[in-house]
């Protein structure tokens, strides 16, 4: 008789302690830091109350990394950075070194292997992004490829600190927006209601859950061709795609009609004004792999105007607050259409209830 296979029980250890992984200077000066400055773009210099100093060199990565790339980064860390690295929330890698002399050779080594050094201060940092066609089950577009195409164009600003303030960009492959709030966001905007595969709904979808998922109550149960299915009131549907994840037969992705929208002015920081949501400023851009040139053109145009016109320390949202939306659309050449007037809940708060108008 076969013995039953003994399965290994998981060790439910949770979030590991980071102390063993800290660079020795960071571990020694934990909670004791006094200030920092930036000797050059891509380098942070932190000084402790103890007098200890540490230089952090930040480099861009492709985020989705093959093991060879990670091992190369490890080789560099072993050679220069006491075998310690850390990653930022925007998938940049940081190498900490305990003497200023190590900074330039480390930068040279990183650049030699194709890792751009930058992403600090008033730069355009790496784009925060999602999974896309590579791994997601509901993507309207790709993420890694769109980011690669954009960063190829923006790398000069990644390596410099010449923007009015830091610029965070995100991309998202559906309206769930896993990329998050940012100064500029590129997000799929579907333009047609889902096409329903009625043969599959009854077997694949929990229909009441799908009905409940719709933000505008446009979905209702129906019998179609003798089978239990769902139908959509297309006059109500605003094509958000919320029904698609719980019910894949509600095919929302459309190679031609799923477009890209661009949003600006989101920020999470409390610095100066309160955190802000981003606002849609254009839509209808084609989903055009492998390099999405139409999206890149608009993003670069917005960034160019912001760089020319923004004052020091103005984030995208601060800049627009000063110049007003009318001038934003004028300067960027983007058309203001009726689709940009909010009509979702709470929308009156976004209307101009004043005579404050710039001429």
């Amino acid at each position: 008789m076969n013995q039953p296979v003994q399965m290994r029980r998981p060790k439910e250890t949770g979030v590991p302690d980071n102390k063993p992984y800290l660079h020795p200077v960071l571990a020694k000066n934990y909670g004791q830091w006094k200030y920092h400055d930036r000797p050059r773009p891509g380098v942070l210099h932190h000084v402790s109350h103890s007098g200890d100093e540490v230089w952090s060199v930040r480099a861009g990565t492709q985020r989705q990394m093959d093991v060879h790339t990670i091992r190369k980064l490890c080789d560099i860390a072993d050679k220069y950075a006491e075998s310690r690295v850390r990653f930022t929330i925007r998938s940049n890698i940081e190498f900490m070194v305990s003497s200023a002399e190590k900074v330039n050779p480390l930068i040279a080594e990183l650049e030699k292997h194709g890792f751009p050094v930058g992403g600090t201060g008033n730069s355009i940092s790496m784009i925060s992004h999602t999974q896309g066609w590579l791994h997601c089950d509901i993507p309207g577009t790709d993420a890694s490829g769109a980011v690669k195409a954009l960063m190829d164009e923006l790398i000069v600003e990644f390596k410099r600190e010449e923007m009015p303030n830091r610029v965070h960009i995100s991309t998202s492959c559906c309206e769930i927006n896993c990329g998050g709030q940012s100064d500029i966001a590129i997000i799929i905007q579907h333009t047609k209601p889902p096409v329903i595969n009625h043969d599959l709904v009854a077997n694949v979808c929990e229909r009441p859950a799908v009905v409940a998922r719709c933000p505008v109550a446009a979905i209702r149960p129906a019998m179609v061709n003798g089978k239990p299915s769902l139908e959509i009131d297309e006059s109500k549907c605003m094509c958000c795609g919320a029904c698609y994840p719980p019910c894949p037969p509600m095919q929302i992705n459309d190679p031609e009609n799923s477009k890209l929208a661009i949003w600006v002015g989101g920020k999470n920081s409390n610095a100066r004004g309160k955190p802000t949501f981003m606002k849609m400023v254009t839509s209808g851009l084609p989903n055009n792999p492998p390099r999405w040139p139409e999206v890149t053109e608009v993003v670069k145009r917005i960034l160019h105007v912001y760089k020319e016109d923004g004052r020091p320390w103005e984030r995208m949202a601060d800049w627009v607050e000063r110049i007003g939306w009318q001038r934003f659309f004028e300067k960027t050449g983007l058309p203001f259409t009726k689709y940009l007037i909010d009509d979702w809940r709470g929308s009156r708060a976004s209307l101009n209830a004043s005579t404050h108008i710039r001429f």
């Binding site: 492709q62 091992r71 409390n270």
Partner: protein
């Protein structure tokens, strides 16, 4: 040597240009792995047809109910067989990183060895949830890879209607703005809820995030159900030598235009030294022989701007702690929500303080589990029931710091007003 590569004319174009290319990385893996050859084949198809071809399913590891993101190909031929059979399964393991995402190279190399052996060799550092994403594994190999990763001391992250993997900023490890021990709070809180991470049974996802100061580098206010954001109650600290050094390297124009004019409450003022006020809420520091900065801290909202501009010359106070905001989320279903203040300030220094934070998280999750509708986030639940009901249930006292303004409409039944005032006064009286 792996099998012959498929033609990938679209993906090839993503090898051009100066930014590091994930396609080049995938092709390097494909030299040894049929798995990645076929992955590139499917991805190229997506680039050609503009359609995604993965569907979910059920794949897990023994003992846990979540943490693996299953992916099966939907790209089939007319016989129903996968077009790219070697990449028919492409599951991801979500692994929780150490706070602040610090690593030694031995650990990263071990991840690489494990993933080269059992998976595709593609690792995302990190996913939007904060996980180490070990991307691309067959159903058969998921358990093998997991066993080895778990033996390294790493645990699986959350997926589905569960407490999710958390993130904390670099914080006390390397940042002068840190207002609490982010890593300690992160581990203490999240490791309390491991059962809710590994066995999804909540109405929907629940996220904690930990930022050490109001710059909120973890984007916690809009990306988490419970945001722990560092702040302080006492006065901004000053350093005269560094203030003078800053001014010597900058100018009066910059001081006025970049800081004075950008202070959101206009409490940051420039004064002649002879006119500088003193008092328990005043911070002041000379910038040269004639002028000084004066900040009335009662009017300061701790936005961080002046401290960001003059780091070292100005610093957060010493009576540090955190503000807790609840309910942040992105679009679906009712629209974007920022987290809003539920606890204006709490100390996070002692183990007892940390226990209070854990207790708050526990009570919020318990209430969420019992009261949220299916697929409803905390922010949506609070929007539905009103913040006052939420506070009542959690026995948290209402506080004017929780609102931008008081109510602007009369649509509230107020016959409990006198009792409420009496209760507040009695509580105040008892405290004195």
């Amino acid at each position: 040597m792996a099998k012959k590569m498929h033609d990938t004319p679209n993906l090839d174009q993503l090898e051009d240009g100066p930014w590091p290319s994930f396609v080049t990385g995938l092709k390097a893996l494909a030299k040894d792995k049929d798995y990645v050859v076929d992955l590139l084949g499917q991805l190229e198809t997506s680039y050609r047809t503009k359609k995604g071809y993965w569907k979910g399913g059920t794949v897990g590891v023994f003992g846990y109910g979540g943490g693996v993101i299953p992916r099966f190909t939907e790209l089939k031929d007319e016989k129903g067989q996968p077009v790219f059979k070697d990449a028919a399964e492409f599951h991801t393991l979500r692994i929780m990183p150490p706070p602040g995402m610090h690593y030694d190279t031995a650990t990263l190399r071990k991840f690489c060895d494990i993933w080269e052996k059992h998976g595709s060799g593609l690792i995302a550092l990190h996913g939007q949830s904060g996980d180490i994403m070990m991307q691309g594994c067959t159903t058969e190999n998921v358990q093998k890879a997991w066993d080895e990763i778990n033996e390294m001391g790493f645990d699986m992250g959350g997926a589905g209607p569960a407490v999710r993997t958390s993130m904390s900023c670099v914080g006390a490890a390397r940042c002068e703005q840190s207002c609490y021990d982010e890593a300690k709070a992160h581990r203490t809180v999240v490791n309390t809820f491991l059962d809710d991470i590994h066995r999804p049974s909540l109405p929907y996802k629940f996220k904690f995030k930990f930022s050490g100061c109001p710059n909120d580098c973890m984007n916690s206010i809009q990306r988490s159900d419970m945001a722990v954001i560092g702040t302080w109650r006492d006065n901004i600290r000053t350093d005269e030598a560094m203030a003078k050094k800053w001014f010597a390297r900058h100018s009066m124009d910059q001081l006025v235009n970049d800081i004075v004019a950008r202070c959101p409450t206009k409490t940051f003022q420039l004064r002649q030294i002879k006119d500088v006020r003193s008092g328990p809420s005043i911070s002041s520091v000379a910038i040269n022989d004639t002028h000084a900065i004066e900040i009335d801290n009662h009017d300061c909202v701790r936005c961080m701007h002046c401290i960001n501009v003059m780091t070292g010359a100005l610093a957060p106070g010493e009576d540090k702690g955190a503000t807790i905001l609840v309910g942040g989320k992105r679009t679906l279903k009712i629209g974007d929500l920022m987290g809003t203040v539920v606890v204006p300030f709490m100390k996070l220094e002692t183990d007892e303080d940390m226990e209070k934070l854990v207790d708050l998280g526990q009570r919020i999750i318990d209430f969420f589990a019992e009261n949220a509708l299916e697929h409803e986030r905390t922010g949506e639940m609070i929007e539905r029931i009103g913040l006052a009901s939420f506070l009542d249930a959690l026995e948290i006292e209402a506080d004017s710091n929780m609102v931008s303004t008081p109510r602007t409409n009369p649509y509230i039944r107020t016959d409990g007003w006198d009792d409420e005032v009496a209760r507040i006064n009695a509580k105040k009286h008892a405290a004195t």
